[in-house]
Amino acid sequence: MSMDEKKLEATSSGELAERDFLDKLEGAFRSNIHVAVSLRNLIHRLAEKALMRGIGRIVIMDFCGTHEWSIVHFGIRSLMPRNVELVAGPGCPVCVTPSKYIEYAVKLSFEGITVYTYGDAYRLKSLRPINGAYSLQEARSDGASVQVVTSFIDAIRLANMSGRESVFLGIGFETVAPGYAVAFKKNIVPGNLAFLSQVKLTPPAMRLSLELLMKEKLDYRFGVIAPGHVSTITGAKAWSFASEEMGIPVVIAGFEPIDVLIAIAEILRQIVNNESKTVIEYRRAVTWSGDEEAQRNINEVFTTIDDAWRGIGIIPRSGLELSDRYASHNAFEKYSLKRISSDDWEYDLPRGCKCGLVTLGKAKPTDCPLFMKACTPDRPIGPCMVSVEGTCSIWARFGGGGLADEVARSLEVY
């Protein structure tokens, strides 16, 4: 957008100044303390304006573990005005993989089929044991055939080498989906390697989380910090339903603390001015339409299904299953495993664990009675603590300090 267009878009001089300020800041990167202080002040000014316009509380939700990490690590929550709350939404695919599908993988591993899995899914516990094993890790120590890999291509290579019947536990969001898709499309997945698709789509989960929040907090206003890397694939357009249909400002942000602060300021600016737009702050990587070839590949190889999310339920059109053309690779078909439907979905978190509510942004990790008591990164009970991407794990490992302390010092708060 040219400067002139920006000027045309701005309707009042105050708004122009703020926008101008935000644009200038976009050029700055790294945790420049002066920029952080200016942004913190701007955020407080905007929050005050919101209060003056009768807008009470504002909830801003992030949807990416890396954003949540940045928020926790740099102590950005402590920089927020009292009427602005930052909440973590669904940003962890391992956390929402249903217990039943872990049980399927464990069962297959005991039947002599090699299961390839990512490291955090390896430790993920199911609700019920299969042959006494609650996880792929336990199955392996009982002699089952389980191998940890860091990527699908590793599984392809190993399956090619061994020639053994094997399954890949294909967990992920839109970021990894185009990689899975291209492997099938280019026909490099060997016949002996089946694929247990656990690919989840983030926009439907965002819609559900926001709908639940809006229902619960009637007089609040909301904003969304949308995920950066997912958006490089899906494009900013994937989130426009929130701004257009739900009236919620959306900013796609990079991962630096400054990026996150800019996103918060832009959301508040929109709320104060009664706007709701989808704005790309992370312009160095994200476009409006995203990577169209990647989207085409995903659409060719996968079909969208109503999918089960652990501790949450069935979310319409929120998962990807291999399409009929690739049915011979589909582990659900090959081993007659039943997908969970809305009729047989059951609550599948360990007793006391609030991972489902944490994932939806309805509870903070510290609201859970198990957090840092029974459930720690070393001895995780719930999936949100098992995965490095989980909100509980991020809060446990990276709490407090950092940038917020420096900002507070420079403001002479203490």
Binding site: R157, D291, A294
Partner: protein
């Protein structure tokens, strides 16, 4: 979450959807090409997530990734190391060399 690991694209086989990426240790590793192939060339700086190229970055983007990662390492109690800086320097040098010019 999409922790992306930066690397330099060494070569690719677009017909297989595969590329080889050097993550800083001189050993090219196979990855899947998740994004439009036309955006990629020998020497491209790429971000790889779970063995899938999910985006390209420019040199400035690489520096940002470095600072984010070094903060994370410090926070996680890892040593602030020279190794990581030299790793990023290596990626930058390799990328420039493969693209056939020194843009410094």
């Amino acid at each position: 979450m999409c922790w992306g690991v930066p690397g330099v694209l060494i070569d690719m086989e677009p017909e297989k959807g595969i590329a080889r990426v050097d993550f800083g240790d001189g050993v090219p590793r196979e990855v899947l090409i998740g994004i439009t192939g036309e955006r990629l060339e020998r020497g491209s700086l790429v971000i790889v997530h779970a063995g899938v190229i999910i985006s390209t970055i420019d040199e400035k983007g690489l520096v940002e990734t470095y600072s984010l990662l070094s903060d994370l390492m410090r926070e996680a109690g890892e040593q602030e190391d020279e190794g990581m800086r030299s790793y990023y320097d290596y990626l930058l040098r390799l990328s420039r060399q493969l693209r056939g010019g020194d843009s410094s």
